[in-house]
């Protein structure tokens, strides 16, 4: 009777956390929306409260899942469901980024050249924006946001590329160590990964400060600033989330969770981290270099 309790697919009988999550989400959304709409820059209390509720929900929800997982309630089929869930979630994230990459592609190959008079844009250029050259990078024919300078891809961004790629490698080493049952080694490499991720974020912040304070490059610097900050910003948010998740699994490792042959939580975070890494490589090429 060793496996009696996992022969059946585990269906939890009560879900307390989703409704908490919905409330958190709504608070965040309403808080953010009212904040954006108000002219005075008060602290968006409601929004922070919402965030807090969401974080509370996540701890509660994942905590419950971890508990169930650790008490052997999941069979392989449940594990597969989780894997599929994670894979398709990451796919949806890929499409989210694709949207912004697509926007970048469109403005560079169509909108900006048209404004500069290429192709079907000759009347546009003559009648409205005469004198505008339409070369990338640009903040548009009206010079929105004023003059700006670019970030040199081969300084901080290159360092960041190396950091993030290295973190993917350290994470893979940690994973192999986990499969071999080398707990200490796993923890060590995980910590290294977290540190690399955190350093990446630190440099990214540095880069933003540099852009805003010295280069004149802001979110409002026309289409260049828009695409640059939206792409790198959303990526940065994902790295932050990934780093938090890495921290959590490191703690779980230390607490003795995960087994060499079953450690979905670990793998999910690893997939996510690799996804974040791949997006960065896309950014490095299409946003910084080209």
């Amino acid at each position: 009777m060793s496996n009696t309790n996992t022969e059946q697919y585990f269906v939890p009988h009560k879900a307390r956390w989703p409704i908490v999550g919905s409330i958190g989400m709504t608070l965040t959304a309403v808080g953010a929306a009212t904040f954006m709409n108000s002219s005075s820059s008060h602290t968006p209390v409601l929004m922070y409260l919402g965030f807090a509720v969401i974080i509370f929900m996540m701890f509660g929800w994942f905590g419950e899942v971890v508990k169930e997982s650790e008490s052997q309630m999941y069979n392989e089929q449940v594990d597969t469901s989780f894997r599929m869930g994670m894979v398709w979630f990451i796919f949806s994230e890929v499409m989210f980024f694709a949207c912004f990459f697509g926007a970048l592609w469109y403005v560079r190959n169509f909108a900006v050249p048209w404004l500069g008079g290429e192709g079907t844009g000759s009347w546009t250029n003559n009648e409205i924006w005469s004198g505008y050259e339409g070369v990338w990078p640009t903040n548009g024919p009206a010079n929105v946001g004023g003059e700006f300078e670019l970030i040199d891809p081969y300084h901080l961004p290159l360092i960041n590329t190396i950091l993030l790629m290295a973190s993917s490698i350290t994470l893979t080493i940690a994973h192999h160590a986990l499969i071999k049952g080398l707990r200490k080694k796993t923890i060590g490499w995980l910590i290294a990964t977290v540190i690399l991720g955190a350093t990446f974020l630190f440099y990214q912040a540095e880069e933003y400060i540099e852009a805003y304070q010295h280069l004149g490059l802001t979110l409002g610097s026309g289409i260049y600033g828009s695409t640059f900050f939206m792409l790198t910003g959303f990526h940065g948010m994902h790295v932050t989330l990934g780093a938090i998740m890495l921290t959590v699994i490191t703690i779980r490792m230390i607490k003795g969770h995960f087994k060499p042959d079953s450690h979905f939580g670990f793998e999910a975070v690893a997939w996510y981290w690799h996804f974040v890494d791949v997006v960065w490589i896309g950014l490095f090429i299409f946003v910084y270099i080209m």
């Binding site: 996992t6 009988h13 009560k14 956390w17 409704i19 709504t26 989210f96 912004f100 926007a103 695409t227």
Partner: protein, 539 residues
């Protein structure tokens, strides 16, 4: 069964949790969640329909009678957003929840807790969206397509609308992930992919579409948000952006979105017709391929909504050809349905009547779609009532008719009570006649030159608008009647008990469990038997 003892108190699986909060708010049961979705969808359908009634009232005759132009635009916008995201999509998710696990022999959806969350985001999102009606500046008024720069002129509603859309997107994505994981991972032994009912197949494909395009929509509205509040210039030429960029992104989402609303209908119709023709579905495999082809094509035709924005000639040509192609796989479906009826032994119960009306009326809507895909002619059709007629044929007599037909088809299984066939038939005839009075004249209006999204029109359009409005009110009342029928069936008033099989030649696992279906089905993981299935031989 010992595993349940550690975490919960329900030892007996057939007992539903007690109390409202336990039963509905915290449920993880696919049937209860399905019910929640369906009830929610019905409420939203009434809300969206009520807005449509005001629209039709205002358009009853020329001159402004009841609403200010700006409010009219809010009505149009909210009508569409509510119908699309609140009524039709959730209704299909409700069907998916109820039927997919039962059809593939699964104990529940793959990720039951997340399933609960997918649903319980929606009411919050729609309360938020609806609340914009009461803000200064009112609700969004730029059409459901939310084109900038117009949408950026809206008052405070933009942030609320955008966040509400984000939440709906999250809900849809989680719902879709659940459907995929369920279908790919939870099929009972011996339930091969090519033995799955077509409804399951179409939903699997729909789920892929959802995961692929909802994030893109989220990205698009995020750009609206930052353009409005944070000074980005994605859609502003002065900063190097382009308003048309939004349209490209929106329709990259929007076109697959319309197939998201029709593919599950195709699935429902493909379940109903064989049952009442007493004959296997014709061309099962080609139906699967056709659905996949439609889904694939839906990603590469989006700019047929933008023929008049001034795209380069080559692009117009390409999008015209690609759009025309969709008629091929769709035609395959229509022909297969007809071939299924051919030489059957048909009876015409209410679900079958709705299915037959679907085939005819959806095809009419498809034909007007085909006409609009001809770019040079679309320069005339675009943004007229011809388009309004087109999409209401595919959406109302398409998607909504399939939903209603599906409700009649499965409600005996859901409730254990047979609906009243007499009332069902009255509802059918009432709906079908009135809906044609409602939408058919809109073709003529469009061809005669009446633009869409206008609160008032030139006097030559009066007559057809009156017809349309009268049809609209009649169709609206017919749906009130539908609500009564559903209510009576649920309560078992004037009805008989449903048998387990319900329809004499129905095939598929759902017909081999009791009516009403027990709270939990298929927990034993036993292999399904071929003779219970509609499709076993895979050619």
């Amino acid at each position: 069964m010992s595993h349940t003892t550690t975490l919960d108190h329900e030892h007996d699986h057939d007992h539903k949790p007690k109390g409202f909060v336990n039963r509905w708010l915290m449920t993880t049961n696919h049937k209860d969640i399905g019910t929640l979705y369906l009830v929610f969808a019905l409420i939203m359908f009434i809300a969206g329909g009520a807005l449509a009634m005001i629209i039709r009232l205002e358009l009853f005759q020329p001159g402004l009678q009841f609403v200010e132009p700006d409010f009219f635009n809010q009505l149009t916008t909210m009508h569409a957003l509510i119908m699309v995201f609140g009524a039709v999509m959730p209704a299909f998710v409700g069907f998916a929840n109820w039927m997919i696990p039962m059809m593939i022999g699964a104990p529940d959806m793959a990720l039951p807790r997340m399933n609960n969350w997918s649903f319980w985001i929606l009411p919050f999102a729609f309360i938020m969206l609806g609340s914009t009606f009461f803000m200064d500046g009112g609700a969004p008024a730029a059409g459901w397509t939310l084109y900038p720069p117009l949408v950026l002129q809206g008052g405070k509603n933009l942030a609320f609308a955008v966040f509400a859309i984000h939440m709906m997107g999250i809900s849809s994505i989680m719902g879709a992930i659940n459907v995929i994981a369920t279908i790919m991972n939870m099929r009972a032994p011996n339930m091969g992919y090519l033995k799955m009912p077509l409804f399951v197949w179409t939903w699997l494909i729909t789920a892929f579409l959802l995961i692929a395009v909802m994030p893109v929509f989220a990205g698009a509205v995020t750009m609206l948000l930052t353009d409005h509040y944070f000074g980005t210039t994605f859609f502003n030429a002065a900063g190097g952006g382009d308003p048309v960029l939004f349209q490209h992104i929106f329709w990259f989402f929007g076109h697959p979105e319309v197939y998201i609303m029709i593919l599950p209908s195709f699935g429902i119709i493909s379940e109903i017709i064989p049952t009442f023709a007493r004959k296997p579905l014709f061309g099962y495999v080609s139906m699967v391929y056709a659905s996949a082809a439609i889904a694939f094509l839906s990603f590469i035709v989006w700019a047929h909504h933008m023929f008049s924005v001034g795209m380069p000639f080559g692009a117009e040509l390409y999008f015209m050809y690609a759009t025309m192609l969709i008629s091929i796989p769709t035609g395959v479906k229509v022909f297969n349905w007809v071939a299924t009826m051919w030489k059957g032994a048909m009876t015409f119960e209410t679900p079958m009547l709705f299915a037959i009306a679907f085939v005819i009326l959806f095809t009419i809507g498809g034909f007007s779609g085909l006409m609009m895909s001809i770019a040079p002619a679309d320069f005339q059709y675009h943004d007229t009532y011809f388009i309004v007629a087109h999409f209401h044929y595919v959406l109302v007599t398409g998607a909504v008719f399939a939903i209603i037909g599906g409700v009649y088809y499965w409600i005996p299984k859901w409730t254990g009570n047979m609906y009243s066939e007499r009332l069902g038939k009255i509802h059918f005839w009432w709906s079908t006649i009135s809906v044609n009075v409602l939408f058919f004249p809109q073709h003529f209006l469009g061809l005669a030159g009446m633009p869409r999204r206008i609160p008032d029109y030139s006097t030559q359009f009066t007559e057809f608008n009156m017809w349309s409005s009268i049809g609209g009110f009649a169709f609206g009342l017919a749906q009130v009647f539908f609500c009564i029928i559903v209510w009576r069936t649920v309560k078992g008033k004037g009805t008989t008990k449903a048998t387990d099989r319900v329809w004499d030649s129905a095939k598929g696992l759902e017909w081999f469990v009791p009516s009403p279906a027990p709270h939990h089905t298929f927990q034993d993981g036993a292999p399904v038997k071929d003779e219970q299935l509609a499709h076993v031989s895979s050619h």
